[in-house]
């Protein structure tokens, strides 16, 4: 297992300590239970915004704590949802009395743990709105499953709802932005290599030297199909078609195009991918009004990428452009 770590059981804690040491101006790290809040939390008069999930997806979520994005993040063990007490403590810590929005990715564990934490917080008189993100078109939607997984749209929802909260939005308004992003965004990913969970010490899945997994999950969960490796342009087309079909975006619409690296894929390749995304969207008559290219929601050292397309309107564009100052995403201030 080739990783820059000490003992596998200490990875999450030590990485959080590093984050806290590197960005004391932006975040405050609390251990046992683990959570990260914006420096100076709670912000008086502001709706709180909290997210969380398993670790291993950095910079998500703890790297998105700061002005204009999250008030708090709850990192679980690697690829394991956080526990209700983490979420509850974090929620209490960022609550300024105007309520707290929970952004929850659609995994059974996340949903149940956030649900229990919300019950506990509500018991203390904190109003909670939980919005579940489920943007991954790789999973065939069905009444008979737990639904779709939450992936790339989470990053966009955290940024956009964070801007609404920063601008003084009400609990319902902030939750509405999360809902809107979830409704208007679709994603799909692929992997060239597996990730290795530190405590496991070996690859989550085996994959041939000439194979790729299309529709991979952010925990290395299998996707739509295993197939022979293809050139980047064809891979992009395989990801983009289901996204656009499902999104039902029509010619003339404006979108945000988000090309995400899975952790082990270098920037030079992400821009090769972005080139084709831009070309295809143009061919479909869509206008890329904003873009994001980088490794923002990762799966440890997995090589691969995901694409997220978000339909934009004026509200979302102005929320996107609002200042954000976090360890992982920063502009405008």
């Amino acid at each position: 297992m080739k990783k820059l770590v000490n003992r596998p059981e200490d990875v999450v804690r030590e990485s959080l300590q590093g984050l806290g040491a590197a960005h004391p101006d932006l975040v405050e790290v609390h251990l046992d239970p683990h959570y990260v809040v914006r420096a100076g939390a709670p912000v008086a008069g502001k709706v709180g915004l909290v997210s969380g999930g398993g670790s291993g997806h950095e910079p998500m979520h703890a790297g998105y704590v700061g002005r204009g994005m999250l008030d708090g993040a709850c990192p679980g063990e690697v690829f394991t949802s956080p526990t209700p007490d983490q979420i509850y403590e974090c929620t209490k810590r960022v609550s300024s009395g105007r309520g707290v929005v929970h952004i929850v990715k659609n995994y059974t564990g996340d949903v149940m743990n956030f649900e229990m934490a919300a019950e506990m917080a509500q018991g203390e008189g904190i109003e909670i709105r939980s919005v579940v993100i489920n943007d991954d078109v790789a999973v065939e939607d069905s009444l008979y499953t737990a639904g779709r997984r939450g992936v790339g749209a989470t990053v966009l929802a955290e940024k956009l709802a964070g801007a609404r909260a920063e601008a003084g939005g009400s609990l319902e308004e902030v939750a509405d932005v999360v809902r809107k992003v979830n409704d208007h965004a679709r994603s799909m990913g692929m992997a060239l290599t597996s990730c290795i969970v530190p405590a496991v010490g070996k690859p989550t899945f085996d994959i041939g030297d000439d194979e790729m997994e299309i529709g991979i999950g952010i925990h290395g969960e299998p996707g739509r199909q295993r197939m022979k490796l293809e050139p980047a342009d064809q891979i992009v087309d395989r990801l983009l078609e289901p996204i656009l079909d499902d999104l039902g975006a029509r010619p003339g619409e404006r979108v945000l195009a988000f090309v995400n690296g899975m952790g082990g894929t270098p920037t030079i390749e992400l821009y090769v991918v972005y080139r084709r995304v831009a070309e295809r969207l143009r061919q479909r008559g869509l206008t890329i009004e904003r873009s994001l290219v980088g490794s923002y929601i990762t799966s440890l050292e997995m090589a691969g990428c995901s694409i997220t397309i978000l339909r934009l309107d004026d509200e979302l564009v102005s929320l996107w452009d609002a200042p954000v100052v976090t360890p992982g995403l920063r502009w405008g201030a």
Binding site: E77, T80, P84, M112, V197, V200, T204, G220, P222
Partner: protein, 213 residues
């Protein structure tokens, strides 16, 4: 049937045995989870039961059954995470509530405590048997226990039947299509693999069967 089947000492032996089994089987459980999930079920359960040993079992002297089981539940909720944490946490919380204030359980009371735990899992996870989850071990176990007790089996035999039913139930998840939890995202590709949660649930019933009597 009127005798004591679980007392404080046996309860601790059960939980210690379960902790031991989960530590021993952590690798295989995680392997099962790697196939149709995210490769953490064994690690999570082992971490949770290590905390149970430290925080609950080491301090259990003089505490009644209900208290210990509820502490196991809250400890699992706050240390396991994932789907397993709330589900197993709820299982033990409900079992503890059912045994509230008691230091000994007779056959009926233990059966009711188990039933309360299983019902907690069902409510928390909103799943049904046949959906490739923990319930596919727990529900057959409860049914086998009830049938054996109704047929007049002694406690050892009845719990042996329950443990076998849980084990068969966990093996019976292999051909199932997952409809709940992370494995459900795989659709058809979830077929052909044994469910990790059902497998750990069978260990839970097996270790309990070993101590009752």
């Amino acid at each position: 049937m009127g005798g004591i089947v679980l007392d404080c000492e046996r309860n601790l032996r059960w939980l210690e045995r379960l902790a031991g089994l989960l530590a021993e089987q952590a690798g295989p459980l995680t392997e099962l989870d790697a196939a149709i999930g995210d490769a953490d079920h064994g690690i999570n359960m082992e971490r949770g039961f290590n905390a149970v040993k430290e925080r609950v079992l080491a301090q259990a002297a003089g505490k009644d059954l209900g208290t210990v089981l509820k502490q196991v539940g809250t400890t699992l909720v706050s240390t396991v995470g994932g789907a397993g944490g709330p589900l197993y946490g709820t299982f033990f919380l409900r079992m503890g509530q059912s045994a509230d204030g008691k230091s000994e359980l007779d056959a009926r009371e233990l059966r009711d405590a188990l039933a309360a735990g299983v019902e907690g899992v069902r409510q928390r996870g909103r799943a049904q048997p046949g959906e490739k989850t923990m319930l596919d071990a727990l529900v057959p176990a409860l049914e086998a226990l009830d049938a054996a007790l109704a047929a007049g089996s002694d406690n050892r035999a009845a719990w042996e039947a329950a443990a076998r039913a849980a084990e068969e139930g966990s093996r019976a998840t292999v051909p199932m299509l997952a409809r709940k939890g992370r494995a459900s995202y795989l659709g058809e590709r979830s077929i052909g693999h044994q469910d990790p949660g059902a497998t750990s649930s069978a260990l839970l019933i097996r270790s309990l069967a070993e101590v009752v009597g």
